[in-house]
């Protein structure tokens, strides 16, 4: 009987039924000659995967974590991102802002899962990712920040030699000198950089390209990747800026990170509203100063991560918004006070943003012993020759990483503009893909524009992103996310120990089990339970289900009742 029905569906040999004239709406059951749309399992892209600038396969890693397969999950993250420990701590996790669970009871704490997996990975005997056979081509990388190192990591995995040039005495770029230790313990960073070194990547520290070595001397390499980042502080353009006691925010962070001494008074004004300003203030607090953050715009427009701003306020750092610096008072060559003018928000302009207008006569003075300028950083690209086109914002690139000189690529902040560590890692991944293609001798235009995706490994998933409306919310109950645990303020301001503590394995498994697994089947059995035709069955000993299309009557209950939109309908040709 089954054979007969199969024949009836074969397009080459149409099944002639005496009931062929029955109108289509009566068609049902396996014996029908009429064709209906048929369901099939079709994994789609989850919003977290789409939101990750580094291209991690988050939904899969969370699934493995929920299963308790921590090592596999950690290795999966390492396929795209050499810095899970760093990202679990400092990434502003755009994945979580995309998470569909936000609409129900709060996003999955993906950063907590990532951080746990990285900590777990450090605690077990490591199995290094297998690299492909060695090739003779060599790539030079300028800058050992997240972009440069992730590019070097992937090139090394592909079998190419990579040499990284770093101006500072230690590798890590902004991760080392821009992010304080209370947010990112150095042991985590050192371990992850050591893992990259272990793949055969050479990192030459204390080598400033342009001073110790010229760009032309790097011509011996087959390709060049520039990821120098934003390391130059900007001038504030106010009188008194040249006085002693006025520092740039990056300089303070660099000195604190490298363990150098800073001579700065007790009362310090930190000018700016970005992460640098908040970091500087919290570092100075830990050094015994009393910092105050002063920002020109409103609190909502501060570009720093919310968690960090809240942390600073908890620690008792005052944040004065809508206050613009007008001048620095200098006495005996030292900055002794700062004058501000209060700003007010005007009506929204054409772009919809409210501009700040100074209030007349609202000037006020603060008595300070030091001033830190932590306004936007700039790219330091004076070492570049003329044929690599650049502007004040950074290097001009095409298709994500190609500069105007052949064989020279750029990535990270210096090419993509100000962004986060995850963006920098994604940019490094992308550059590694492009450099591999270039080294294989493929033409610029043969490189598909789809290289815009950051992932190194291709995935078997439909590119359609699953949103909350596509899910079946009936099957999800409210469960609150794992809480963030910070150390008490009293003890944490006394030193540079990490503010947020880690997580236990059970907590993380519970957290991972909250995941909707949007668009990706996790064998919840719903389709099998609700199939009226018993056409869906488990694959023996394997993951997933199979659909017997000869038994299916196309009712669509499986597609409707799938909690995670992992099934789709297709028309039978």
């Amino acid at each position: 009987m089954t054979q007969k029905t199969e024949q009836s569906r074969s397009p080459s040999e149409p099944y002639s039924s005496p009931h062929a004239q029955v109108p289509e709406r009566h068609a049902s059951g396996p014996n029908t000659p009429f064709q209906h749309p048929e369901p099939y399992f079709n994994d789609k892209t989850s919003p977290c995967n789409m939101g990750c600038p580094a291209g991690e396969d988050i939904v899969e890693a969370i699934y493995l974590t929920a299963e308790g397969r921590f090592q596999e999950a950690w290795e999966l993250i390492l396929q795209e991102n050499p810095f899970p420990g760093v990202c679990g701590r400092v990434c502003p996790h755009p994945c979580e802002s995309e998470c569909n669970r936000r609409e129900l009871d709060g996003a999955i704490c993906i950063h907590a899962v990532e951080r746990f997996l990285a900590d777990y990975g450090r605690s077990i005997p490591r199995s290094r990712p297998k690299s492909r056979p060695q090739r003779s081509k060599q790539v030079a990388i300028v800058g050992s920040g997240p972009a440069g190192l992730s590019c070097a990591y992937h090139l090394a995995l592909m079998g190419y030699g990579a040499t990284v040039f770093e101006a500072l005495p230690k590798a890590g770029g902004m991760l080392r000198v821009g992010i304080p230790r209370y947010r990112l313990p150095r042991a985590v960073l050192d371990q992850e950089i050591a893992d990259i070194r272990a793949l055969g990547v050479e990192i030459r520290t204390n080598t400033l390209v342009g001073r110790d070595i010229t760009l032309d001397q790097l011509r011996g390499f087959d390709a060049l990747f520039i990821a120098t980042g934003f390391h130059r502080g900007q001038k504030m353009d106010v009188p008194g800026e040249e006085a002693r006691g006025v520092f740039s925010g990056l300089e303070i962070l660099k000195r604190v990170s490298l363990g150098e001494k800073i001579r700065i008074g007790e009362q310090v004004a930190v000018i700016g509203g970005g992460n640098t300003a908040v970091h500087v203030a919290r570092c100075l607090l830990r050094l015994g100063c009393r910092p105050t953050i002063l920002y020109r715009r409103s609190r909502g427009e501060m570009t720093a991560i919310d968690k960090e701003i809240n942390g600073a306020q908890e620690e008792g750092i005052e944040i004065i918004c809508l206050a613009a610096l007008t001048q620095i008072l200098v006495r005996g060559g030292w900055a002794k006070g700062v004058e501000f003018v209060k700003m007010r928000l005007s009506r929204p302009d054409e772009s919809g943003r409210r501009r700040q207008v100074p209030k007349k006569g609202s000037n006020f003075w603060l008595k300070v012993d030091g001033v830190v300028s932590a306004i936007e950083e700039l790219a330091d690209i004076e070492f570049l020759p003329d044929d690599i086109k650049s502007e004040s914002q950074g290097i001009l690139v095409e298709r994500g990483c190609f500069t105007s000189r052949k064989g020279v690529f750029a990535g990270g902040d210096v090419a993509t503009g100000r962004a986060t560590v995850a963006h920098a890692i994604g940019s490094g991944n992308k550059a590694a893909l492009a450099i591999e293609r270039y080294l294989k001798g493929e033409d610029f235009f043969s490189i598909p524009e789809s290289l815009g995706t950051d992932q190194i490994l291709p995935r078997k998933a439909d590119s359609g992103v699953v949103r909350f409306n596509d899910l079946n919310p009936v099957y999800f109950k409210k469960e609150l996310p794992v809480p963030l645990r910070a150390r008490p303020v009293k003890t944490r301001v006394k030193g540079f120990k990490e503010v947020y503590s880690g997580y236990k394995a059970e907590e993380i498994v519970t957290e991972a089990q909250r995941c909707f697994s949007c668009g990706v089947c996790n064998m919840c059995d719903n389709c099998l339970i609700f199939c009226p035709c018993i056409a869906i069955s488990r694959r023996r000993g394997k993951f997933g289900y199979k659909i017997d299309v000869t038994s299916c009557d196309g009712c669509g209950i499986c597609v409707q009742e799938c909690p995670r939109d992992a099934l789709s309908f297709r028309k039978v040709p």
Binding site: G29, E60, M523, P532, C555
Partner: protein
């Protein structure tokens, strides 16, 4: 990465994996009959004989000499199923096969009216069988269905004091199977009243049938409860929050004509029924 079977399944329903019913029946797409038969057999096991009067269910186990149910099926004429059940039961008891369950499986609510009196008679004779009524609400007066939403069947039989009477819905498979499992272990006449989505009759698209069945429970139009010996009431599913009946009525083509006032009357009726059911359960 998902190449090995998951260790911890994130399941919404805990139901037995054993599959007695096979594919190949010939019911309409989206109908709940085959699902309810499948769940019932999961609860009852292989030692079951089905007695099916002329109704939609006659299609549910396949056609000609083949059966999708994979258990013996006896087709009875209109209005004679309860007699057939009595006969089969007597024969089985005579052979000493007391562990075999005989199930009267009647679908659509026209049949409910026809089989009702024969079932009453069987109950009077204290026959030992399970009576299943798959109710697709076909007898509901489409003009103004207020009175018909009252779960009459279970109440009448409970008033007669039968050993077990319960309602079940295909949208709650775990509860459904539990009830059959429980009924199997009780002697005497047992009744299970199943709420059955019927896409052509309700004028909904086939894929929404489970969702509509679920909404019937969530709006409390069809509460899931059981009565033991006509006395002990238990409400099995208490919806987290009561949806307005509107959510169940509006998507259905058959209720498009209802005015707001009429839905309000239905809503009040449903709330009164629900309250009295909770009271009886609390006693």
């Amino acid at each position: 990465m998902r190449h090995v079977l998951p260790r911890s399944q994130v399941q919404n329903f805990k139901i037995p994996k054993m599959e007695i019913m096979g594919s190949g029946h010939s019911i309409c797409p989206g109908c709940g009959i085959s699902l309810s038969l499948r769940y019932a057999l999961k609860g009852l096991g292989r030692k079951t004989i089905l007695v099916v009067p002329a109704c939609c269910c006659s299609n549910a186990d396949g056609s000609l000499l083949y059966t999708a149910a994979n258990v013996p099926v006896f087709y009875a004429a209109y209005g004679t199923a309860a007699f057939a059940v009595s006969g089969i039961r007597a024969a089985l008891d005579f052979q000493g096969k007391t562990d075999v369950q005989v199930v009267l499986w009647a679908a659509d609510s026209n049949n409910r009216n026809f089989e009702f009196w024969t079932m009453n008679g069987a109950d009077r004779r204290e026959e030992n069988f399970i009576c299943v009524c798959c109710d697709d609400q076909a007898a509901i007066k489409a003009r103004f269905p207020k009175s018909d939403f009252r779960g009459g069947l279970v109440e009448i039989m409970a008033a007669r004091g039968i050993s077990y009477a319960a309602t079940a819905s295909v949208a709650y498979p775990d509860d459904f199977i539990d009830k059959f499992h429980k009924a199997k272990r009780i002697n005497g006449t047992r009744l299970i009243h199943i709420h059955l989505p019927c896409p052509p009759l309700w004028k909904i698209s086939a894929n929404l049938s489970i969702q509509m069945a679920r909404l019937a429970v969530q709006t409390r139009l069809f509460p899931l409860y059981e009565v033991e010996n006509g006395e002990k009431y238990t409400v099995n599913v208490i919806p987290d929050r009561g949806f307005p009946v509107e959510e169940f009525l509006r998507p259905q083509g058959r209720f498009q004509h209802l005015t707001n006032m009429q839905t309000e009357v239905i809503q009040k009726d449903v709330e009164r029924n629900w309250k009295s059911l909770l009271n009886r359960a609390a006693e």
